[in-house]
Symmetry: none
Subunit: 199 residues, 4 copies
DNA sequence: TATGAATGAGCTTTCATTCAT
DNA sequence: AATGAATGAAAGCTCATTCAT
């Protein structure tokens, strides 16, 4: 087999994997993590159940990868925001919150993340990895807040703790947005950011 | 005609029901709502699976009752705090947050509540009831905040929205406290309340 | 204990047994023999499940007794008809068919009888007893038919066989009358009897 | 892309379905419709319980299909007999009765049909479909009888009603033939047909 | 690689029967 | 006699995973 074919096969394989992961998060976001079956994901991907096992060795494996990519992506986006020197801290936090709350897929990620961390039947290594990446992802937010404090835009206090509170608040609000069962209280992002960045 | 003590039987029955509900919340808090089986709850209660159905007509029934009692209890405690005129708003919010974060059972309740609202396989009426009670339970918190605003202790803004943010923040933090997988960032309740009650 | 009390107890016991048997046939006729549970029958009788076992040693025992009494009753009524010398054979058969088809309880008995005879899980002795009593109950009908033949009212042929056909026809028609699922063909009893008693 | 022979797969699948349906009617005919479990049918088919659900989505689904095929087959055979111009009405009815009573599988079908129509726990749509097909299947028999009447072979009366009586008689007799519990009265088909086609 | 049939363990639920009171 | 809690075996069904093709 020519090297070109090997490379092509590798690319096809990676595309398949991405298709599966996209299907998985889509299914999870509509059926919940507990009710999302291999059959559902296979159907959503458009391939057979058996074929799924050529790309992932188990259902847990798929979930772990969905979470990994979701968290890596989250961290990446946050780093980009951190490096954007055109925005002040208020604007960064505002955009972060708006982006997060606007995208329905984040609802699914947040639920998965909480489920994974709090469910005993999820394997230890997955839970640990998720926790570790969450902790790592707090760092850029802490740096953003620290910068804001040095500019007098953000309230005093340990930046890491404030980052933890801020992210927990956004996550808490995200979880409230269950489709079809909305809490009848609107969310005012400006007001939320003002808690951390008072005028 | 019956040689049974009806009063005693009734009491025993109520105790059993409470044993089951306690076992259920214990199991759910360790295995997650999706993986908590009747078998698990029966074993935790110390009775047979079949006998569970003398007290609850289905698994959903148990879950609904656990949630109902948890939310009613929460609302009751919050109302007590609201009526306590010896405490100012800062103190009320501080005690509320401390109480909530200190009691490990609240972790389980918070997980159940989120699971119930976001899991499609949970029956509609349960999800609706949980959502409704959550909304109702926001009211005393909104009144506490409104009182704080009138005394100049709390930041400006719609009291109901602020209550929603505050409760979501506390819930978000609660969910982070997964036993064995703690985020290595300590929580400073005073600092959290200060976001809403700045000096 | 005085003899009077023993007799009274005995009478109470027999009434209870009859209450249970009546409840049983009522439940069976509405839920079907397969779905009729001890709990259903107990509730219909107005006593507790446990108490049922003071009067019958098993569910099969109840069913067997329902069948036994139903068949004995059937045989008794048939004998009365047989002895009624005021009616000719046509009139006897007509009244028999009308009586049988008019009383909804016979529908339940017929279904039970067929279920009992054709269901493997019904104990052997019950099935045998039902079959034996059915066979015995053919005799008075055969005698009625034989008498009719000697008077020239009934078609020729072995009286027992004709009795068998006649009863099977009535039973077959009875089974068709499933409440809510009637066959839209009316039954003309005169026409049926005329098959056996041509003008 | 698939290394499977789709044509062959489809054929194998259809064979499996037929195997299951055959096993089902076999089990039902020995245990009764109420006691026939998926486990029994699976064992009789020689496959696992879980695998049954690749071919039928529920137990009811299997029963419905068994009944449907049985009734369609019955109607088809009856239509063939109706179109056979070489036989007169007596001969047609005679052959119909002989065929039906000779084939033991008809005993099973008749039991299933009656059970389905008279058992409350059987879903409504199945009961309705069975009733409807039974009614439809009365039509060819009514036409056969009507033709016989116009030739003076059959007794007077509404042909549909007579068809109903005739079929009920044959069904009633069929149900009597419980293997191992036979009523000790022989059946003379000629004599039965003579009730409807007197000399 | 791709398929979907096949399996087996697990789930929730029902129910006849027993038992302590 | 009377109660209903308790049990355990069975039911129908689901699903992650394996396997032959």
């Amino acid at each position: 087999m020519s090297p070109r074919n090997i490379i092509r096969d590798q690319r096809v394989r990676e595309e398949r994997i991405e298709q599966i992961l996209n299907a998985a998060i889509r299914v999870i976001s509509t059926k919940g993590i507990g009710a999302a079956s291999m059959s559902d994901i296979a159907k959503a991907t458009g391939i057979s159940i058996g074929n799924m096992y050529h790309y992932f060795k188990s259902k847990d494996d798929i979930f772990a990868e969905v979470l990994r990519q979701g968290q890596l992506n989250y961290g990446h986006n946050l780093s980009l925001l951190e490096k954007n020197t055109e925005l002040d801290t208020y604007q960064i936090l505002h955009q972060f919150a708006c982006d997060w709350l606007a995208n329905p897929i984040n609802w699914a990620y947040t639920i998965m993340l909480q489920s994974a961390r709090t469910t005993v039947s999820v394997p230890h290594h997955i839970r640990q990895d998720v926790t570790d990446r969450f902790t790592v992802n707090l760092q850029p937010m802490a740096r953003i807040i620290e910068r804001g404090q040095s500019q007098g835009h953000v309230v005093d206090g340990d930046p890491l703790q404030l980052a933890f509170y801020f992210v927990s608040l956004i996550q808490g609000l995200t979880l409230q947005r269950a489709p079809g069962y909305e809490i009848p209280v609107s969310i005012n992002v400006d007001q939320i950011i003002r808690l951390f960045c008072p005028l």
